[in-house]
């Protein structure tokens, strides 16, 4: 029984970390309809900035997180202006080509500038160590990630479903020229949403760095994982992504405990099963 609880806690923590890192992708992919394979690259940039701020400059963790988010957004602004703006509404495969190209470039540059070694982001003492749950201990930073995940999920859901910004964003995506004909400044809406998505990527990259450490190949190494959880959840749906992360996190964790040698099989069979039952993802928006 204790083991069951213990696995459940691990699954929750793992799922939430996945959620924090990939939710930004749900925004770009589901709401802006850009298959943004460079999501991981932006998360990685965030990680590098945070690592540089906290480790090399000795700034505090909080400052490092803010620097990472702001810095990544600043880097992303010209990228959005000159590259992404060209592929909004383009066929998915064209978007794949462009964003893979961007990813390659960012990897190459990161490798050149920071070298191929792992970069860590030192945690503040408050997040180090483990918390005692009674039946087991859990690293404090994972609790922190769970909280961050919940906060992000709530905030984002509100912004998308309840604010006029959210309505205008969804309208622009459905039919940009019609939205424009109704007076919506789609370019600004897009740029803002992209900034939010990239900011979330950077934030997730930093918060999740304990689990997915920052190194140049990060951008490609976890690309598939992000893509899978977002699509299984139903791109663009915050609750969907949350459920998918918890579900897949749970299956992955349990599978890895019970039969580690078949871990991959469990995970991907579950993915296939879920999509066969929910062909548009768990909470897919109908197109």
């Amino acid at each position: 029984m204790q083991t069951v609880f213990s696995i459940a806690v691990d699954a929750l923590a793992y799922g939430m970390v996945l959620f924090v890192i990939s939710i930004g992708l749900s925004v770009t992919m589901g709401l802006m309809r850009v298959v943004n394979l460079a999501h991981g690259a932006f998360a990685m940039i965030g990680g590098y900035i945070a690592s540089y701020a906290a480790r090399d400059l000795g700034l505090g963790y909080g400052v490092a997180v803010i620097a990472a988010v702001v810095g990544t957004v600043i880097i992303a602004i010209p990228v959005e202006r000159f590259l992404y703006r060209r592929i909004y509404g383009a066929p998915e495969l064209t978007q794949v080509l462009m964003t893979i190209g961007i990813t390659f470039c960012i990897i190459g540059i990161a490798n050149y500038v920071f070298g191929p070694t792992l970069k860590t982001i030192p945690l503040p003492s408050g997040l180090q160590g483990s918390a005692d749950l009674g039946f087991r201990t859990i690293p404090v930073h994972r609790l922190f990630a769970i909280l961050c995940g919940l906060a992000v999920a709530g905030g984002l859901w509100y912004a998308i479903e309840r604010t006029s910004f959210g309505v205008k964003l969804r309208a622009s995506v459905d039919n940009a020229s019609m939205a424009a004909a109704l007076g919506v400044r789609t370019e600004i809406i897009y740029a803002l949403s992209f900034a939010v998505a990239v900011g979330l990527a950077a934030f997730g990259g930093v918060v999740g760095a304990e689990l997915l450490p920052v190194e140049p190949y990060y951008a490609l190494r976890y690309m598939v994982t992000f893509l899978v959880v977002v699509s299984v959840g139903g791109a663009g749906s915050i609750p969907g992504a949350l459920i998918a992360c918890l579900l897949l996190g749970g299956i992955d964790t349990t599978g890895r405990y019970l039969m580690p040698e078949f871990g991959e099989f469990f995970f991907y069979l579950a993915v296939i099963a879920i999509i066969c039952i929910f062909p548009r993802g768990l909470a897919g928006r109908t197109k």
Binding site: S164, V167, K168, R170, A171, D174, N175, S177, M178, A179, A180, A181, L182, G183, V184, R185, T186, R285, T286, K287
Partner: protein, 238 residues
């Protein structure tokens, strides 16, 4: 005397390399109701779309309320008071009816939605439905209501009656006439049912292969049997 709501000079436009419109010029006085007629594929939709800033313009100028909007993107023209109801309806499929209307509000308070519901009670019943779940006629109502909510000073209507029940058509045409009269709204109407259009309008232009082939009053057009036969191809039908 307010500035002329819409002036078009020597407009040429099209899609990519294909030119569809050629040297179109006309202007519409305030509160006017202009019918744009023409046979299949003659460029009516292209004309309205170009005015709304949605197709490629090669040449010419467009002025709204005296201001040159030729270089402006679609959204800015809308903010200058241009309203466009496209032929394809362009409902936002993943938004609910209410959210669709909300986009058209242009910053007016949410309570203004009631205006739309007053015009089309059917929409109120369906207000939580997603756009792509609506029937053809309901989509048409939504598209029209959405644009009117923004209180445009120039309203471009591309076949707004398509797919609507006869009762609704009558009510809607009456409502448009009312808007033009009291709402200080200038209306351009593209319509296939020539009689409805002529009943409604006080000016008519006819397009023929992308060029302005005829301009005048409805009465003059009705009397000009040759032109009707040649340009609209319906002479023999009645």
């Amino acid at each position: 005397m307010p500035a002329t709501p819409l002036e078009v000079e020597n407009l040429s436009a099209g899609y990519g390399p294909t030119r569809v419109l050629e040297g179109i010029s006309f202007s519409v006085p305030s509160g006017a109701r202009l019918a744009v007629l023409g046979r299949n594929g003659m460029g009516k939709t292209t004309l309205l779309a170009t005015l709304a800033g949605q197709t490629k313009r090669y040449d010419g100028t467009i002025r709204i309320g005296g201001a040159d909007v030729t270089a402006m993107p679609s959204a800015s023209r809308a903010r200058k008071g241009l309203g466009y109801v496209p032929q394809a309806r362009c409902i936002f499929p993943t938004l609910t009816v209410e959210e669709n209307l909300f986009v058209g509000l242009k910053g007016r308070p949410k309570s203004a939605l009631e205006e739309a519901y007053g015009m089309f009670p059917r929409l109120k019943e369906r207000r939580r439905n997603l756009g792509n779940q609506l029937s053809g006629g309901e989509q048409q109502m939504l598209s029209t209501a959405r644009t009117i909510l923004g209180r445009p000073s120039v309203l471009l209507l591309d076949e707004p009656l398509e797919g609507l029940a006869p009762v609704i058509c009558e009510e809607l045409m009456a409502a448009f006439a009312e808007l033009a009269k009291t709402g200080d709204m200038t209306i351009l109407l593209v319509e296939q049912r020539i009689q409805s259009a002529l009943d409604f309008a006080d000016h008519v232009i006819v397009l023929e292969r992308g060029r302005l082939a005829w301009a005048g009053t409805p009465k003059a057009l009705s009397d000009d049997h040759a032109a009707v036969e040649r340009l609209l191809g319906v002479g023999g039908l009645h």
